[in-house]
């Protein structure tokens, strides 16, 4: 049993979880936009949340109903873990430990974290590519069968990097998916590419047309969240993702 400072609370029991997808506010808000859109399109059911005495005293209200900002959604054999607020760097380790322990307890086949990877020439890219990093050769094959290229060299910083570290330690199969994106501006185009990759990977059927038609409104609505997320990206030294590793092959 984990002694983590963060607890995963199931308000409805989750019997089956083949894939667990995690998306928190990060580069270009790519994962937040992608998973948020998928939750609405696929009409996923809210089934739980993350709890901790160390979370800030914040709730979010939707249709008059108060909710914790970090929540779980479920449909068929897929669970999404999403957050409506950026995560402080001091909370990353307890959150990832709790999530990996929970995924292990559910015999999750693949724990997938999603985000954007900032590229300086994003304006010249019409359809962003999605790259992946797998914790095992089997995971890499699953990724390549879905037409997702491997990220061969580089640094990854943030919650998804911490989740991969913890997954490797506990031997929970995991995958990071990264869509080319803007660093500091909400990027629905990158989110659409990520959704298409997830559709191929986990057999989802989420349509991205609506997301792209309303791209302007999405960018406009998420400005404040992007601003707050930028502060957290500095905490995890996100700039290091633009560097070349020492032992570059």
């Amino acid at each position: 049993m984990s002694s983590s400072r963060v607890t995963v609370v199931e308000t409805s029991p989750i019997d089956k979880c083949r894939y667990c997808l995690v998306g928190f506010p990060d580069v270009g808000l790519v994962s937040s936009i992608a998973l948020g859109h998928a939750i609405l399109q696929a009409q996923m059911t809210e089934v739980g949340h993350l709890e901790s005495d160390e979370f800030p005293p914040v709730i979010v209200v939707h249709d008059g109903v108060p909710k914790p900002p970090l929540r779980l959604y479920h449909k068929n054999d897929v669970v999404f873990v999403v957050s409506e607020m950026p995560i402080d760097s001091n909370l990353i380790t307890p959150i990832v430990r709790s999530l990996v322990d929970w995924a292990e307890s559910k015999n999750v086949e693949l724990l997938i974290t999603t985000s954007g990877i900032a590229v300086p020439n994003r304006l010249e890219i019409e359809v962003p590519e999605v790259y992946g990093v797998a914790s095992s050769a089997a995971g890499r094959k699953v990724m390549e069968d879905a037409g997702i290229k491997a990220l061969e060299e580089g640094f990854i910083a943030g919650l998804h990097a911490a989740l991969m570290k913890e997954s490797l330690k506990k031997k929970v199969p995991s995958l990071i998916l990264l869509a080319q994106s803007h660093l500091k501006y909400p990027d629905p185009g990158a989110a659409a590419s990520l959704i298409n990759a997830l559709n191929r990977l986990v057999g989802f059927d989420v349509d991205t047309k609506e997301l792209l038609v309303h791209e302007g409104e999405v960018r406009l609505r998420l400005r404040a969240l992007m601003q707050r997320t930028q502060e957290n990206m500095q905490q995890v030294k996100k700039g290091q993702e633009q560097e070349i590793p020492l032992l570059y092959s």
């Binding site: 500091k184 909400p186 791209e215 409104e217 960018r219 609505r221 400005r223």
Partner: protein
Amino acid sequence: MLALGLFDELAREMWDLKRESLAPLVSVSETEDRVIVEMDLPLVQKKDIRLRLIEEGLEVEASLMKCVRFERWGTVQRSCEFRSFYKIMPLPCSVVPEGATASFKKGILRVELKKRREIEHRISIT
């Protein structure tokens, strides 16, 4: 002082209800001889952007292609409409208006401004 701190936080919020305007996301960087300002201006057409270099900094005003409405918005819990972006961006150093360039692509405005060159004083080493 606590109240002032709270208002500083709110001042960072990106909406001006009175003006019905939004503050865009902005990124400022520098090279040796230039200041580069980028702003995210979704739902804006190039012809509707007004850009000025003023004493306080770079001023941008841009009308939205359509009025954007948020229902039951924020702490006021009523319908709010916004019709434009507006921001005065302080710059990290003195710049000159000559040679300034601006481009607008896929909703991203990029402005490059030449830094004002200070008078140089050479120092001899004996």
